[in-house]
Symmetry: C3
Subunit: 135 residues, 3 copies
């Protein structure tokens, strides 16, 4: 089964989508299987991360700001703004697609895991995701 | 088919799980298909890496120690120790889930590839993995 | 269904394989499903990236050259040349396997997304990929 998600982001940072994906899995009525989610953009990405302490998200974002800086004068792809080329590098370093097993109708995440869309552009956007669920 | 693995790690570093995954695939009796493994933690991750020279693993670990250092004073998520926040960043930079095709009952790895659980905490732990195998 | 691709690379950089994968998906005759591609090497990797401005590829390559430098004297795995150990680190930081949903027989990529084999060795090589397509 193929389904689609639209996620409105407000700017850089992690946006949890665990609930939306769990609802799509439940709607399939399958007991066990695999759920694959792909983000259809190259300036946003996906990650499975800690869902408890927001300081983790802040520190993740800060590591990327230090190591993949905006406006580095060595970038040559600059026409879309200082946050565009870093967003492509961040996407390469994280994930564009994730496959998560499920059983008893529940995504097999650990207690402290959430699935996140990671927005890398300052302004945010509407982001389109495609989801595939199979037995 | 869903199955589970428990892996006991002794500290930071790569722990090969190719054999365990190959056994789960063989137990399914399928000729070809896809094997997906997910680690249910955010301070350990997965990677497919060289299985021949242990120096590769040492150099991988050293690169991450230099670029995602323990105890960086800029981290704000510090309550679980100096190796905790770097472990989440390492997980974001590597993989939480991997999907490997198989044919003739064998994972389609190259000669020099092994599948590894990467422990990022100093003390190690028992790590839980969920495995999905389908045609 | 399992299939195989061989890709001849000429040296470091991104080599687009979207067309080859789309042809394999079309040949299956399935309306919707999941296409998984795995590179059977540890000195090349996979990424989904921008397919419009070649400057993106140049800047990606340059970021990796700066952050995962060739010939770093701290590498201990050096027998295969100065570009070998960085290639394993680059593979760990990007992807060895990617799963892409498809619908109406078309990979569900965004307008600006392409699927790339990323060669990390200076000389290039023939690279072998395994592809799995299922409903």
């Amino acid at each position: 089964m193929i389904d689609h998600l639209e996620v409105r982001t407000q700017g850089k940072g992690l946006h949890e989508i665990t609930g939306e994906l769990q609802r799509l899995v439940a709607a399939c009525g399958l007991d066990e299987g695999l759920c694959t989610v792909m983000v259809r953009h190259t300036s946003a990405s996906l990650t499975i991360q800690e869902n408890a302490d927001l300081a983790v998200q802040r520190d993740l974002e800060a590591w990327f700001e230090r190591n993949v800086p905006e406006g580095d004068p060595r970038y040559t792809h600059t026409s879309e703004g200082p946050d565009d080329m870093p967003s492509h590098i961040r996407a390469a370093l994280t994930s564009t697609t994730l496959s998560i097993p499920f059983e008893r109708g529940q995504l097999a995440l650990g207690t402290w895991q959430g699935i996140y869309l990671w927005e890398h552009r300052r302004r945010g956007s509407v982001r389109f995701l495609t989801v595939h669920v199979s037995p």
